[in-house]
């Protein structure tokens, strides 16, 4: 009992995640700056922002539902952290695993986006309302390609449990090469989930000011920022577990280092995408997702079915 409590709260759980989230945000901002030939913030900038926000005063609009206003950030952080517990990190065994936990992880990752929508809706301000509606429209656009992209390796591995998937690809790593298309689709769709540049339409600071978080300030905004950081780490870990399953059986320390390197590679790709694209309009984003992302994901599933027929039998 103590071990599971320790692992939930401290090691791969809340404490490790928030620290790694802060580090990931720093790496992302420093890479983004270096892509733009800028110096970039010092290493303690994300921590400083977090502490500054904690110290600031929180204003709750009178017409907003105060209880929901306060609870939503906690939901967002909780959902992101629980999703992390089911993902096998540096060995093929994750903390809890059962048949079908990949579906649970995906739904737990959708929860933060819903809390963003509710946050915008409950703060009853105009900009927040528009930002909230945009979060939802964007959700419908990238959700289907993301699910298909991440589930296609599961079809090849013929099981819905993340542990079984990583074990399957651990045994014959060359099959992972067939999922490259799925990996590309998922990385693009993850940009939508994390609301990063080509798809950061909900909180486009030049149009709808703060988007769903316009009315948030103080520690609630700090919690939401933390939720987004943690969600970035969790999504990167999910992609690493499903698409890059090599280096899992080695000595724990080495595989931990390889796991960190895998996360850094995915964060590098994400901040690269953030720096070479302009922000799309909401209708262009929906067109792009349904015209290009969804068919690519379907093609990937087709490949998986065909391969399943040839290889596994």
């Amino acid at each position: 009992m103590i071990y599971t409590l320790f692992s939930i709260l401290v090691f791969p759980g809340l404490l490790f995640l928030s620290i790694f989230g802060v580090i990931a945000e720093f790496i992302d901002r420093r890479l983004y700056a270096r892509f733009q030939n800028r110096m970039g913030p010092p290493w303690f900038q994300p921590v400083a922002d977090f502490i500054k926000l904690l110290a600031k005063e929180e204003l709750i609009p009178e017409e907003a539902d105060a209880r929901m206003f306060k609870i939503l950030p906690v939901f967002a952080v909780a959902a992101a952290v629980t999703a992390f517990l089911y993902i096998p990190l540096w060995n093929t065994a994750s903390l809890f695993s059962f048949e079908g936990d990949i579906i649970v992880v995906l739904y737990l990752l959708t929860l933060p986006t819903l809390t963003f929508f509710l946050a915008g809706w409950y703060s009853t301000s105009l900009y927040a309302m528009i930002g909230a509606v945009r979060t939802l429209t964007q959700l419908f656009a990238y959700e289907v390609p993301l699910f298909m992209g991440i589930l296609s390796p599961a079809i090849l591995a013929d099981s819905w449990s993340l542990e079984a998937i990583t074990r399957f690809y651990g045994e014959h790593p060359w099959y992972a090469l067939f999922n490259i298309l799925g990996f590309a689709v998922s990385v693009i769709a993850i940009q939508g989930k994390l609301e990063r540049i080509p798809f950061d339409i909900p909180e486009a600071e030049t149009e709808v000011v703060g988007g769903a978080f316009t009315e948030y300030s103080g520690k609630f905004l700090a919690l939401f920022r933390m939720a987004i950081d943690i969600e970035m780490v969790v999504c990167a870990a999910l992609l690493a577990a499903v698409f890059l399953p090599f280096g899992l059986e080695l000595h724990p320390v080495i595989s931990f280092v390889i796991f960190i390197v895998k996360l850094l590679v995915i964060i590098f790709i994400m901040s690269l995408m953030r720096s070479i694209f302009a922000r799309l309009r909401i209708d262009q984003m929906v067109n792009f997702c349904w015209k290009y992302l969804a068919p690519a994901a379907l093609l990937q599933i087709l490949i998986s079915f065909i391969l399943k027929g040839i290889l596994v039998r």
């Binding site: 204003l59 017409e63 950061d200 000011v209 070479i276 302009a278």
Partner: protein, 406 residues
């Protein structure tokens, strides 16, 4: 969400300067909008009448932060025309050099701002990094990066030495290289083109009817340019092409501005190569004889018009400034018809608005109908604004309780 009326501005991250747009939205589509300007009016025209001509130069230079040389040159051309002063050729050349350098620095700045409005911050960072080269040239020539104070009545205050010319020419080549790269980016980067094309369309005859000027009009196919049609300073003996484009949208404005950058580099090279020797200023009288003159100048944003009336004393009787943005701001409402909410910042930025040029009157809190000025404390100010909004806009703001402490 049904019909919603959302205010953008006067203070808004997308707008560099205060202007307010009340937009009625149906979901994301724009149905109608009301443009309100006048927030940055500082009474420069009235102030000009109380200062001497020399002091007016520095006042008019601060009408706008980016196009300061524009206003001082335009004003001085009118004053010199009234005083029938014959400027030395070198002074004309120096004014044109600083004018073209200012156009380069203004267009590069605009390119970055346009990138930022559509969320392409990398373009902002790169174009503003390359803009530093122009700012260094300007501060080497005139001593200052922005407010150059280069002009005086009857000529120019600082000369250019031959080794300065030798240092400027290679820098202009680097700038030309970088601008060629930005032309490729503006015509090949998919997401940028997606956000710029068919946005904020302004047809040719709309541009003519609404009196648009500068790159906004040239991007809708109107072949107008004060430097060629009504040449001033040293433009008469320069050979350059007027860039026009018939995309009629924001992409067209981008390509026109980047094309003009290439033309400016050619012009700067011509100017630097055959700048004549001679004095740089002529002795000007402190009192200008009576008369009136209208001078026009092709500012980076469009045509800048100054009307000056002198009455023989050392203070002008009337100075009328028509900044280019005043002509283009009328077209914004036409451009945004049935556009999207996300397009507003880029369309507004596309005319490169400089509202500090457009407004020139000082605002102060005064009692209605009495000239007595009273300073009121925060509570009555808040109550005043609540009643004002209730009476004028029919909106009851009193329910928004900021927090218990007040």
């Amino acid at each position: 969400m049904g019909k919603v009326m959302i205010p953008i501005g006067p203070q808004h991250p997308a707008l560099k300067e205060p202007a307010s747009f009340n937009i009625t939205l149906d979901g994301e589509k724009i149905l109608d909008m009301i443009v309100k300007v006048g927030y940055n009016h500082r009474g420069i025209e009235k102030a000009c009448e109380q200062r001497t001509y020399i002091q007016d130069i520095y006042l008019l230079e601060r009408v706008c932060g980016i196009c300061s040389h524009t206003h001082s040159t335009c004003f001085l051309q009118a004053v010199e025309e009234i005083a029938a002063l014959e400027l030395p050729k070198r002074a004309h050349y120096l004014r044109t050099i600083v004018a073209e350098l200012e156009r380069v620095h203004s267009h590069l700045l605009w390119l970055g701002v346009a990138g930022h409005e559509v969320g392409f911050d990398t373009l902002l960072m790169y174009s503003w990094r390359d803009r530093e080269i122009v700012m260094d040239i300007l501060s080497m020539l005139t001593g200052n990066r922005v407010n150059y104070a280069m002009n005086t009545v009857g000529g120019v205050r600082r000369d250019i030495s031959p080794d300065q010319i030798k240092t400027i020419l290679p820098l202009v080549d680097i700038l030309e290289e970088r601008t060629k790269y930005y032309i490729q980016v503006a015509s090949e980067e998919v997401t940028l083109i997606e956000r710029l094309s068919k946005v904020g369309t302004l047809s040719h005859d709309d541009a003519l009817k609404l009196g648009a000027a500068g790159p906004t009009a040239r991007a809708s196919g109107r072949d107008i340019d004060v430097r060629r049609d009504d040449p001033y300073a040293a433009y008469a003996d320069l050979s350059f092409k007027v860039i026009t484009d018939n995309h009629n949208d924001v992409l067209g404005r981008t390509l026109v501005r980047v094309g003009e950058l290439m033309e400016s580099y050619k012009m700067i090279r011509q100017l630097l190569k055959n700048i004549p020797e001679g004095p740089i200023a002529v002795k000007a009288p402190r009192k200008i004889q009576a008369g009136e003159a209208l001078s026009r100048y092709e500012a980076p944003r469009g045509e800048d018009v100054h009307y000056v009336k002198a009455n023989g004393t050392d203070r002008p009787e009337r100075v009328k400034v028509r900044a280019p943005t005043l002509a283009n701001v009328q077209a914004v409402a036409a451009m945004l018809k049935n556009g999207y909410l996300a397009d507003i910042p880029i369309v507004v930025a596309a005319i490169d608005p400089c509202f500090s040029c457009t407004d020139r009157m000082m605002v102060s809190m005064k009692d209605a109908n009495s000239r007595k000025e009273n300073f009121i404390d925060w509570k009555t100010l808040r109550q005043y604004s609540i009643d004002w909004y209730k009476q004028n806009r029919g909106v009851d703001m009193s329910k928004i309780k900021i927090s218990k402490r007040w």
